[in-house]
Symmetry: C2
Subunit: 319 residues, 2 copies
């Protein structure tokens, strides 16, 4: 196990900013283009996006003690930072283009730990073909580590927006739901990039978002005004863990599934087959958008068609 | 004075994430384009940069207790965040295009203080025509506030790089140097955007950077291998404060001048006149690039031509 804070181990406070950046450049290797296209000048010069493409931007961070624990492997923590940004790009149907980081750490942060974090970030970036074009670091007191990443994405496809769903559309989700923390899924997930591209190509997909706070929160962003989501209990793709299934309550509220939640006009049967043929995450049709009745915004439907309101709430960073 | 942490005052922990974002949208007003071009979807859709333009990216943060103190006015602290990023864009000869923020705060952060910070950020962004297209926030324990900003810039001019200077080039600087902290300049400076554009237009400008860590550090980024910087003591534009002048040592090492430091082939007399006619920051020719001798990389020259090594070092975040 790698101990993040132990001033008896080699730690960042023993190196200059230049030495730290040099060390990280070494870890990132080919992922950091040479200056001025990568770190080394006052700004990075970003390659112009291909003609007729759209440019997307998103920013997400990981903070030790919030998004991962001091005991989490630094490699998995670094992978999470890269992949949670890529998940936002995926939910627009884009592909990752480049990223800029901003790190904050206390001087007693172990160099070995930081190396591991950057290795995890770097390996994930490499898998997705994302260049790391710049960065910034600052030190604070106490035991602290956070890294903030801004990712740019590109796409020549239409953007998959949160708006666009209508009453009658099916509600669909990729992969499995719930138990993200218990199973380590929140660290080890793969952003649904190819899935997002295929959704953007299929014009029957009316709206899309990625699941970061749990369906109970995230579905609200897709619902038109005066609409509710009816979810079929039996259709929810509950995650399995040690022979047990996630409970419905957890599957809807745990958060950090990093799956794509989308609405579809008609039956996504052919899309589902296409996903299968490409070996992608399976699509589950989990319900439909209906006019809002007396049950609030989220309604559970059991096997014989009985409805009941779902009052659980998704994860909130500030609650 | 606005007290940042006082849980008896209205504080961020009393609001949901949505409520906080709504509050900030209100402060930012027209600076935040409607979704999906601004906050509200999974990514912001960035307007395509104009044809034949280059896209620049930079990231800088401000952390309470590091880049400003808890007693600093929140408005000035927010302005600093925006302007220090814009200074990096200026040093490439670009103009600011859009920005994405990432905030971290403890739940006891005063809402009034946060409003003030965002007001300062917003007013500065408005002055420079920068849209705030997205953001992210997370909460931590303790008394904490940081905001990280990634700024994109555009330019149809050549990029002003740090590389390109040769032996014999004059060393020039805009504005005044030193006492940035004592005078509050580090909070209240104006990024040298128009100045940077004019430098990019003038082909005799061979290299440029902005002064964030002090000339003693930043000049090293402009020096070709085996070259040194000779600085004329009498030519340094020392900042005045309460009737006193900054000392040479301070002027070279204080940091956070946020002026443009550039090298020039020949005499920048016409450029200097152009700056004057536009009411811009004055240009001082402060020395020249020479072959490296026995005095190290930075050499002071007094009024009668005597040389001595300058051993002072600029500001380092991690030292």
């Amino acid at each position: 196990m790698s101990e993040p804070f132990d001033s008896k181990l080699p730690h960042v406070g023993q190196l200059s900013e230049k030495e730290i950046i040099g060390r990280l450049k070494n870890i990132f290797g080919d992922l950091m283009p040479p200056s001025p296209f990568g770190p080394g000048d006052d700004c990075a010069i970003i390659d112009n996006p291909p003609p007729n493409s759209k440019l997307y931007a998103t920013s997400d961070s990981v903070i030790m003690g919030v998004h991962f624990s001091p005991e989490t492997s630094p490699e998995r923590s670094g992978a999470k930072l890269l992949n949670r940004n890529a998940s936002d790009i995926a939910s627009m149907g884009g592909r990752p283009y480049c990223a800029i980081t901003s790190a904050v750490f206390s001087k007693n942060l172990s160099l070995n730990w930081l190396d591991g974090f950057c290795k995890g970030l770097s390996d994930s970036a490499s898998k997705l073909g994302v260049k790391i074009v710049g960065g910034d670091c600052a030190s604070v007191k106490g035991d602290y580590f956070s890294m903030h990443l801004t990712m740019l994405g590109v796409s020549t496809l239409r953007p998959l927006l949160r708006t666009g769903a209508s009453i009658g559309d099916k509600i669909c989700v990729t992969g499995s739901l719930g138990l993200s923390f218990e199973t380590g899924h929140h660290l080890d997930f793969s952003p649904r990039l190819r899935e997002g591209e295929l959704l953007a190509i299929d014009e029957n997909v009316s709206a899309c978002t990625d699941l970061s706070d749990g369906i109970a929160s995230d579905i609200l962003n897709l619902l038109p005004e005066s609409a509710a989501a009816i979810l079929d209990e039996a259709s929810l793709p509950l995650r399995k863990f040690s022979g047990k299934l996630a409970k419905i309550e957890n599957a809807l509220t745990d958060g950090e599934d990093y799956e794509l939640l989308f609405t579809y006009k008609g039956n996504p049967l052919r899309l589902s087959e296409l996903f299968k043929s490409e070996g992608l995450a399976p699509i589950s049709v989990i319900g439909e958008i209906s006019p809002k009745g007396n049950f609030g915004s989220i309604i559970l439907r059991d096997g014989v068609g009985n409805l009941k309101a779902f009052r659980g709430r998704g994860y909130s960073q500030l609650a």
